[in-house]
Structures are given as C-alpha cells and as structure tokens.
C-alpha cells in the first residue's frame, strides 16, 4: 500500500511541477489579491499593517480555492481517476495522498511566500512569522475541505463556480481560528486556545474529508 501511495504522490507532484499543471498560478493569484487590496483601502500603511494578517489569510483562502478544480479534474478528463478505484489501497487513503501532494504544491508555497507579501502590507517581523506559522497549520484544512467540493463537482461543466460556493461556508471555522491565532500571536496575547482549535479543525478535516470525498467520487462515477 505504501508503494502505491508513494507512486501516486510522486506522479501528482511531477504532473503539477512539469507539465503545465499550473504550479505557480495560485501564487500569482495570491500576489494579485494582495496587490489589489491597497487600491481598494488606500495606500495607508498603518491600516494595512493592522489588517495585513487578515488580508493574507483571505488571499491564501481564495488562492487555495482557485486551484482545487485541478485536484480531480485533470484525472477525470484523461481517465486516470478510474484507476484509483482499482488501486491496491482504500480510496479514502488514496484521496488523502492526492490532497497532500496537492497541498505541497499549493498550500505550502502560499504559506512560504506569505511573509514576503506581508512585508508589502507593512507587517512587523514577528507578525510575518506568526502569519506563516498559522497558514502552515491552516492551509491543509483548506485543501482537505476543498477536496470535498472538488469531489462533488468533478466532471461538471459549471463546477468551476460551484466549487467555491460549496466550499467557502465550510472554511469559516478555519478562517476564524486561523486569523484569531495570528492576531493573538501578533499582539502577544495567549494564543493557546485558538491555536488548539485551529489544530482541531485541521485534524478533523484530515479524518473526515477523505471519507466524504471518497464517497462523493464513488457516487459521481456511476
């Protein structure tokens, strides 16, 4: 089973990086979102510094959503999704592996460049670290919850718009606990409670999202 999972992860990773998988696109979108915010709220560095962490979280959330239709979309188009059903491993574990490799090429880079974009939003150094840290914990939950939406809308022509509509309400807890942890860390307030709640949401998503996504893929296949 392990070799199956490793092969799947390696394949998804290669596809994303090499063959026009749109590896960098969510990052460009993230940069674009952050870049248009000052046009809307004004070039007020004090204000931007205050809302900067929230802006980064919103940007990361939207950028995660943008790439999600590719999670199963390309595989459904070329038929390799059908091979997952006959692979020698349980389907929930396989989709979890797919989500993880998807997160490595989207969520992880988002968390990694967040401090750089934070600099443009006038965030102080310790706030940059705090935002990257919470994004590192929270983005897996975003990818996993998004995977449910990706599985539900796989093969739909209107799936591109439907997916964020389905997924966004589910991500409310991640956003709440992610931003509150970040703000508590920045202000030097006790962050343990919100951090543990953020972790709890992420861990729950690890367990439940693969089951729901696998069920949806099975139903969508018939």
């Amino acid at each position: 089973m392990t070799s199956t999972l490793l092969a799947l992860i390696r394949r998804d990773f290669r596809l994303a990086v090499r063959s026009g998988g749109g590896f960098g696109l969510p990052l460009v979108f993230f940069l674009s979102v952050v870049a248009v915010i000052p046009f809307a709220v004004g070039p007020d560095l004090v204000l931007l510094g205050r809302i900067g962490a929230a802006v980064l979280w919103i940007g990361a959330l939207l950028s995660t959503l943008i790439g999600l239709d590719r999670l199963f979309g390309a595989d459904a188009e070329d038929g390799s999704l059908d091979l997952l059903f006959s692979a020698p491993a349980p389907l929930p574990v396989l989709v979890l592996a797919k989500a993880l490799s998807h997160w490595v090429v989207t969520g992880l880079p988002l968390a990694a460049i967040a401090p750089l974009l934070g600099l443009m939003l006038n965030l102080p150094p310790h706030a940059l670290a705090a935002t990257a840290f919470t994004l590192l914990i929270g983005t897996p939950a975003l990818t996993l919850l998004g995977m449910i939406g990706a599985a539900l809308t796989v093969g739909l022509r209107r799936g591109g718009l439907l997916l964020p509509v389905l997924v966004l309400p589910m991500t409310v807890p991640v956003l709440i606990f992610g931003v509150s942890t970040t703000n508590a860390l920045i202000a030097g307030d006790p962050a343990a409670s919100s951090l543990s709640l953020l972790l709890a949401v992420t861990l729950a998503a690890f367990v439940l999202a693969p089951l729901a996504a696998a069920g949806a893929l099975r139903s969508a296949r018939s």
Binding site: L162, L166, L168, P173, S180, L197, G215, S222
Partner: protein, 251 residues
C-alpha cells in the same frame, strides 16, 4: 427492449411513492386547514393578546415570526440530513424526494429569519446588519442551503444527484455545529438562549404562549409545504420517467 430490463427501471419500481402520494392527498387538506387555524389563533395572540415589551415596545412582536423561522431553518437541515441518510443507507428514492423538497423550504425560512432579524435589529441595535454570532451563523447556513440547491441544479442525472447532494448535506450536518461554535466564539452580542434553559424559560408566559402557538403554526406550515412539494416532485419524476420511456419506445 427486454421486459426484465424494463421492470427494473426505478420509475416502475416506485410502488411505494404511489402509496405515499395517495396518503399525502388525503392528509394535505387537513394539514392545510389546521395550519390556517393555528395561524389565525397565533397571529391574533401575537398582535392583540401578547403585551408590548416594556423596553422594545411593539417591535417585540417581530419575534413571533423571527423565532419560529430561526427554529425551522435548523429543522429543515435536520429533515434533509435524515433524508440523506435514507438516500445513502437504504437508497430509497422517496428519501431523495424528501431531501429535495426540504431544501427550498428550509432556505426560505432561513431567509425569513435573516430578514426579520435585520428588521428587528434596525430599531433595537440601530443597524440593519450586525455581525453578531447568531445572525452570522444563520447567514452561513443560508449559503449552505443555496450550495445544496445549486449542486442539485448542476447535476443532470437524478440518481447521481441524489447521492452527491446527500453527501454534501451530511457534511453540512457535521459542519453546522462547528461553524456555529466558531462563530459564537468569534463574537457574541446577541442575547443568550432564553426559551430552552435548564431552569425553565425566562420569557413571561404572556409572551411564551403566543410564541409556542406560532412556532407550531410555522412548523405545520413547513410540514404542509414539504408534503406538497414532495407530491409535486414525485409527479415530475414520474412524468420524466414516462417521457423517457416514450422516447425510447419511439426509437
């Protein structure tokens, strides 16, 4: 087409729904009458019997619509979740009809709760919209209702739509309490729960009785509309099945 294949078609195997339809036909006039009666009593009590609040004045009467609607928006998701279990576990076609019929009604009551809450908030809080915990989580619930309706609309194949919508509904069933908790945690400005409490209701009976009558009236309205929509949906599906068979036969 061989006979065996034709009889295994779901539209013909729906003997049960036919029984359901005749049952609904008989029950609906009674339910509708009872609902109307309760509404007359409930609204008369709400407008003429219940006293005006000493602080809020007559605006407190919005409560008699707002609170039942807010209860029913949770009730609607509950009906959808039980039906979804029926879809996924027993694969019963009637369960999917029940889930499909509950979605627009639940969404409508959620919208009523939001709008009346907003109208109530204007004189009480001085603003049309307050990002308070309950308003916000009901808004998120409304978005989830719309998501369920949109997903069903996007799927062409009924059997596939039944199961995918059921999965989304159950994911929502797990998620709604988590969202509710997180939003409560995020901000609370709304008054705490005042009807269901361990030490009994903190509302005076003069207001509580009309509230309960109205809640019952609205719940019966929900049930009546639900049965009505289920019956309509069953007819639609039967019609679709007949059309498909006619098209096949014509080939």
């Amino acid at each position: 087409m061989p006979q065996a294949e034709a009889t295994s078609r779901p539209m013909i195997a729906l003997a049960n729904p036919a029984r359901f339809s005749s049952l609904a036909d008989r029950a609906l006039p009674w339910l509708a009458g009872l609902t109307a009666l309760l509404f007359v009593v409930g609204m008369w009590q709400a407008f003429f019997v219940a006293p005006a609040d000493y602080q809020q004045g007559d605006t407190v009467r919005i409560m008699f619509v707002h609170v039942p609607a807010a209860w029913l928006c949770m009730f609607g998701w509950g009906v959808m979740s039980v039906s979804s279990l029926g879809v996924l576990v027993w694969r019963h076609p009637l369960a999917d009809v029940a889930a499909q019929a509950a979605a627009p009604i639940g969404a409508a009551f959620t919208l009523i709760a939001l709008v009346t809450g907003s109208l109530w908030g204007r004189p009480m809080w001085g603003t049309w919209w307050e990002w308070d915990a309950r308003l916000t989580s009901v808004l998120v619930l409304f978005l989830m209702y719309l998501g369920v309706i949109a997903l069903r609309a996007a799927l062409d194949e009924p059997a596939k739509a039944a199961r995918l919508v059921a999965i989304l509904t159950l994911v929502g069933f797990i998620n709604v309490p988590i969202i509710k908790f997180s939003v409560d945690w995020w901000n609370t400005l709304h008054q705490p729960a005042s009807v269901f409490r361990m030490d009994g209701p903190s509302i005076h009976p003069a207001i509580l009785t009309p509230l309960l009558v109205n809640a019952l009236a609205f719940t019966l309205l929900f049930v009546t509309l639900h049965l009505l929509l289920m019956r309509t949906e069953l007819m639609k599906r039967r019609l679709r099945g007949l059309r498909l068979r006619a098209a096949e036969a014509a080939r």
